[in-house]
Subunit: 332 residues, 2 copies
């Protein structure tokens, strides 16, 4: 295992030290492993809390800041944060208007966020609502998931719903929007290589030199099938077709993300985006906004995922609203 | 070779198609392989043109836009663009105030930009000035370089000098600033793995599982030495010490970049930044601004580089000025 780390058991701790040093505009609670905005937000603003296992950076800590999250809880690599962490984050960010938990659909995350919400509500009187993202069309159930996995739409949802919360919308309205965004998005990913979890010290799975995994999960969970390595144009088809088969994306503007899994260079991600854009155009999908880069990753896995979100004028307006986080920044 | 590409010989062409599709705010000349700003700039503004071999994305095409470059010429992977490309870019962006060529110190780039400048001057009367970056402290000469290689400072220079040009400074003043920024910055990089050039189809060099290369070049050129794999804290020392030994960074604010080589995930880059920040603080260097992520890459190479720039109030002001490019965006 070749990694830029000290001891495998210290990766999360050491990385959060770096996040704090790199971003004076954020605050890091090293005991509870929570990243907060440095500037407290206004009273009456609904707060957004997300979190999950580490190894998907910039998700979630890199999306804390004006216009996105108020706090992110970091679990160990590919391991859910604990209810304690989530409860603490929820209490700290509440400004009396309630807190939205944004949870990717993995059994541990869902269970722990549910418990944290109940505790924060019972012990501190915080009103908590929850959206569970489940946009991955690849598989119905998976290693750590009942139902579809939550993947790329989580990034877009945090941006869009973050802007709505910033506008001062109330918790019910923010929750309704969050559910609508989740239901309007679909994703599909693929891997050329496995990732290597530091604590494991070896690749999560073996993938022969002439094969790739279509429908991979962001923790290296099995996808739909292994197929022979193919040109980018064919890979794009294998990702886009299942997305378009699952939801009608015509007749509305779409937000598209071509996401890198962490180990694929940007020159390849742009190349893939070109292929994806061509297919979407051919299918009559009007792309209104796009994002190309590493946004929800799987450590050092080589590969990519495609997310398509059926938007409308309201969602595009929220997308364009100012955002200032380590991972996404514009308009400010 | 596992890559998200079609044919190896089409990587650059296909990737530029993706850049154009992903960034409607940019223009791509596919014949000459030049990325331009979509919004023509004001008459009288000095124009900035850079370029080099592809495979270092987001450098340079990802730094075209308000507050940075006016155009970037893309060569084949790790291969200098031709004088024709550079001449064309120079002619197109000139608004009568002259053009600054920003050239990383590699023999091919330097020679071709020199020829392009002479041709643009002779044939179109464009006033051209040139800054050659040479900030890599690792080695004196290298595979493709007489003198030090130009690496990470190029990113910082394009941002800082781009802001100065945006302010309306004249060519002589922009050139003087560019030289001052180059002289004030130092970099050092390392690799855990080789990269694989698509046309070659195999890793550029072999690096045993228990070794790393300190002082690596951005094309996989040999560095100072191969040493046993070490913890991040030790890697940071091996990068920071030669930088601090080469220039005094105390008594002034510093801009620091922890750059990923393309194949290292963000969690590791933040971890490395934490180690670097600790060493700089210990050495009495005051870090005023920082950048962590993939900015000047080497395809899929795992590894990182550190760049430290000795700044002042003027440079910090230019650093903070609005910028809107695919790779760097703030204040707008």
């Amino acid at each position: 295992m070749k990694k830029l780390i000290n001891a495998p058991e210290d990766v999360l701790r050491d990385s959060l030290i770096g996040v704090e040093a790199a971003h004076p505009e954020l605050r890091v609670d090293h005991v509870n492993r929570i990243v907060y905005r440095g500037t407290p937000k206004a009273d009456g603003k609904v707060a957004l809390v997300s979190g999950g296992g580490s190894g998907h950076e910039p998700l979630h800590g890199g999306f804390v800041g004006l216009g996105m999250l108020d706090a992110a809880c970091a679990g160990e690599v590919f391991t859910s944060p604990t209810p304690d962490q989530m409860q603490e984050a929820t209490k700290v960010v509440d400004r009396g208007a309630g807190v939205l938990h944004i949870v990717k659909n993995y059994t541990g995350d869902v269970m722990n966020f549910e418990m944290a919400g109940e505790l924060a509500s019972a012990e501190s009187g915080v009103e908590v609502a929850t959206v569970v993202t489940n946009d991955d069309v690849a598989v119905q159930d998976s290693t750590w998931t009942a139902g579809r996995r939550g993947v790329g739409v989580t990034v877009l949802l945090e941006k869009i719903v973050g802007a709505a919360a910033e506008e001062g919308r109330d918790l019910a309205s923010v929750l309704a929007l969050a559910n609508r965004v989740n239901e309007s998005g679909r994703s599909m990913g693929m891997a050329l290589t496995s990732c290597t979890v530091p604590a494991a010290g070896k690749p999560t799975f073996e993938l022969p030199d002439d094969q790739m995994e279509i429908g991979i999960g962001i923790h290296g969970e099995p996808g739909r099938h292994r197929v022979p390595l193919a040109p980018a144009a064919s890979i794009a088809e294998q990702l886009v077709e299942p997305i378009l088969a699952d939801l009608d994306f015509t007749g509305a503007p779409a937000i598209v993300m071509l996401n890198g899994m962490g180990g694929s260079p940007l020159i390849e991600l742009y190349l893939m985006y070109g292929e994806v854009a061509r297919l979407l155009e051919k299918a009559g999908v009007t792309v209104a906004r796009r994002l190309v880069g590493n946004y929800i990753t799987s450590l050092d896995m080589a590969g990519c995922s495609v997310t398509v979100l059926r938007a409308d004028d309201e969602i595009l307006g929220l997308w364009d609203a100012p955002v200032s986080t380590p991972g996404l920044r514009w308009g400010i």
